[in-house]
Symmetry: D2
Subunit: 319 residues, 4 copies
């Protein structure tokens, strides 16, 4: 192995650049050449490759987004397109690839491995919805951004004794909502994986206001329903001065947190070593604070387990 | 004069607490007693007064919101209600009042002054829409929060070559939009006070992408139209990967900036001195970097002048 | 058990307030009364107790420091002083105590338990130097603050092609240095637990500058030597434009991170449950991402294990 | 005029990149070519020029430091070196230059103008010590960084009832100290331009602690004396638990504030227009919130006037 490629795929996430940096610097230290593949699998098939030096990535660790860009490319599900991609890599002398991204990225990495290009997948998505890893790259930063926003929202909620329903990202995964809800002391946390009772939430808010609390915060994962709809439902059970708030895309950006930078660096470094060991078709994760690998195939059957105890703790404290 | 009151009215804004602190500490230094009036004019009429010491306000300078709370209270437009308020103050020995807030606050301050309670108005609103002042308390912090959010949004815009239409606060006043638009290098800034041409904006974006720019940001004051509607209009003139984003209430919160803390402190300090001089019915502002006062009556006829040159500069740079 | 006390001891750390909040709200939900003990063990002996309600702690989760205050009190090593403390608790009807702090706190908690007051210790210190826990309360926030500062320092380092030796906290424990060093892409990380070679570090910096890098960052744990001394040593091996920088006490403050708030909440909640189960003399920690307990006695023999692999990864990437 | 150059000189400051961006984009919009001159006047003499496009500067507005780099170059005081510089510019077809920096930069800009290369100076320094401008580029960001640090320091000060003497930048100019001191509610502000009385400061602190205040903050401009020395002096007048703290170089970095970005953009834009009007030898500033110009020669005799009323306000509030 002389030359490896790296690409980012799917939605961008803070820490992707830190991972690209770690891959680049580790590979160069081990005598490899590194090519950045721009625009994900689309760029892979198109041959949009740029050589990366250690200096190219020097200032990237602190920058959000992905400087290699990302792009939707459903065409890569087709075998002939995958083959074209593998040929592009071979014709550029690229022997192996590291893919950073969400669900779809793993399918691409597995396809390339089967075509003889060893590929390793790194979990890069703010949603934290990848099986067999406790942390995805970007999850920590998204939680930080959402928490900072809700801290600000609480200021205005308290000034006016209002209730805010704050929609955070997470279509099928309530991890951001749970962690941010606990971190902001939310009165209630609502996620798609668990039942909830709007009437009970309304009762909690009423009790809190009666006890002298000056604000109400409900953290709602976007996958449950819209914040506006939730507000309408809530108002059936109480006469609150309520507002709906959608944090949206800012959760995807910003300089990554310590956790995302460190996790991205550890996983990027590890991925290169796996390639040097001749491995491919593997997904890297962090389980119980330790680096771990699984066959990519296992991920397709697996299901991410959130830290649902956070829900119980939050409920208990708001009794 | 032995005892003064202070209240916050209308929408809360970062720096209100810094102003309350400055009023309290200045007044105490000058031998006065200070009472916080909670919940704005509603609390004034209800007699919801709390004595304030220097220690009570010690940690408040860095906190967003208003710890005296605010409340809507349109009833204060009625003369009999105003009289009840003046009586409450007199029965508590409160000789003068400082009111921090937006438009409505000035009407209340003038009414009290006419009823013999000297009152001074301080401009407290994130919108910066008060006549005869270049800066309102909260405007700087709101701009900071909006800029930070758009910096993050740009990360994800660039990763995917997207256009974001970002709705910032400002119903009738484009000051936040102009300042934040320039500070984030927006491709276009759209405000209610000036005409705009969506087709021209679309052409600018196209030219930028053609030149190699990897993102598009349009900063839209909420008073113009919704971000969703603007997006729909924009897509008539170009095939952009566009997203609408509403920053909403977080712009009202957060620890105040240096500018808001310093302006709030200067104005709060000055307001007490005006009262000590026997003045009332005045609005304090900062004009051309200097403390200034105007009769509150003048404000009702006046119109805030934004720094519209920012629009021209931004347009020129995006030609 | 009807009434529990809570105190903070030793150096303050961001997240202590979040832990106090979690203890208070969990205890109240379980029918207990909670008393805050001010000024650590000094206040315990003096009987400086304040009743805490859920509303008292409502806004505390986002605030740095400890609102119960802390104080040095070596006198609590004496048995008669410990007995006086236990009596104070009993005379106030306090049956059990939760202690948040560093090393010294555990000795106090154990002493109280032996005197019949069940006590639980929570790890509260930015240094992360407590055995049997991967995270102490405050460690994450201190890393965040140090990283943010170094990100800023890098801006000026790069503008002038300078080398900065940045002293971060950690007398005997290099955890902050390692995590922050990796997160900022430091050229070298120097900690007290591992050997280092200043000449080798100088060679790394020279190679980096020769390759076109525009800045050099060395993250130095304070326990190794002063940044000034390190700079002098470094200059023996190379003609760098070098500056020494000490981040100091700001690392102790600031609004806690998501991680510190969530960890503090989980551990505070858990500590109350342990007391409800009749337990005492235990230290709570987080091991491999899970809540764990150990006899406090074990901690005195134990030694915190840092994630020293971070050093190797950083070295490998800077080869 | 077909082609202009731009350079940054002296200590770097947040907002310099925003100014470079504004110059570049304005110049290109007006049909000019722009060359970045790297490493200040040293690079000017060496001919280290790089063509700049609008896309090159697209992401720079939010980045601290100066991507054109800066360097000390006292040799530029010599006439023959200045002539060599002018020749370099001419041989590259560069007709005019914009210089961003502190004191020294103006001497260079004037020298070039006298040699027939119209040059305009922009005030770029965090110290705010340039005559005839209320704001220098970088001043606002430095104040923000210092304030954020002191907010954190206050957390730990309060937890332990400590006094912190915080050294902020400003050798001969107390502007950062005054603004940050007011913004953090400092007990005392000490600057080089005004007398101070350490005994009186000690009395203030004692009175505050006696009244129940839980912390003490003294903001000290570095030009007065070291924080350590100040601490020693202070301890002669009172038995405080005091700590000295030096914020140092982080004040030079970080993403610029709204104010610095907007001021830098306005001044950069204006400087190009002055060149288009055939002007040279001018210094651009912001006076009373308006763009203004002065002959560079005037600056050498002028003296920056700080907002010393801030000192009086702070003293009055701490009586």
């Amino acid at each position: 192995m002389k030359r490896i490629g790296i690409l980012t795929s799917g939605g961008d996430a803070p820490g992707m650049n830190a991972a690209i940096r770690a891959v680049t610097k580790t590979a160069i230290s081990n005598g490899l050449e590194v090519f950045g593949i721009r625009y994900g699998f689309a760029g892979l098939v198109a041959g949009d490759f740029v050589a990366l030096t250690a200096e190219d990535v020097d200032h990237k660790i602190s920058q959000g987004g992905t400087f290699l860009y990302s792009a939707r490319y459903p065409e890569f599900a087709q075998e002939e397109v995958q083959k074209k991609g593998a040929e592009q890599l071979r014709s550029h002398g690229i022997d192996a690839v590291i893919v950073i991204g969400g669900d779809g990225s793993y399918h691409g990495a597995l396809a390339l491995t089967r075509l003889g290009i060893n590929s390793i997948g790194l979990p890069g998505t703010i949603d934290n919805d990848i099986p067999y890893t406790d942390y995805t790259i970007g999850f920590s930063s998204a939680c930080r951004t959402a928490m900072d926003a809700i801290d600000k929202i609480r200021d205005t909620a308290a000034s006016h004794h209002r209730v805010f329903i704050v929609n955070v990202m997470g279509r099928e995964c309530g991890d951001i909502a749970m962690r941010v809800g606990v971190a902001t002391g939310a009165d209630a946390i609502v996620i798609p994986e668990r039942p909830y009772d709007i009437k009970e939430i309304a009762e909690t808010l009423k009790r809190h206001f009666a006890d002298g609390k000056d604000n109400g915060i409900i953290v709602l994962a976007e996958g449950v329903m819209s914040a506006d709809k939730f507000k309408d439902e809530l108002l059936k059970y109480g006469d609150f001065d309520a507002r709906a708030n959608v944090l949206a895309h800012m959760q995807r950006g910003g300089s990554p947190t310590v956790t995302d930078r460190v996790n991205a660096t550890k996983m990027g470094n590890y991925a290169v070593k796996l390639l040097l060991d001749g491995k491919g078709g593997l997904a890297v994760g962090i389980e119980n604070s330790k680096l771990a690998t699984h066959d990519i195939l296992d991920l397709f059957d697996g299901k991410h387990q959130g830290d649902y105890a956070l829900l119980d703790i939050n409920k208990e404290m708001n009794k």
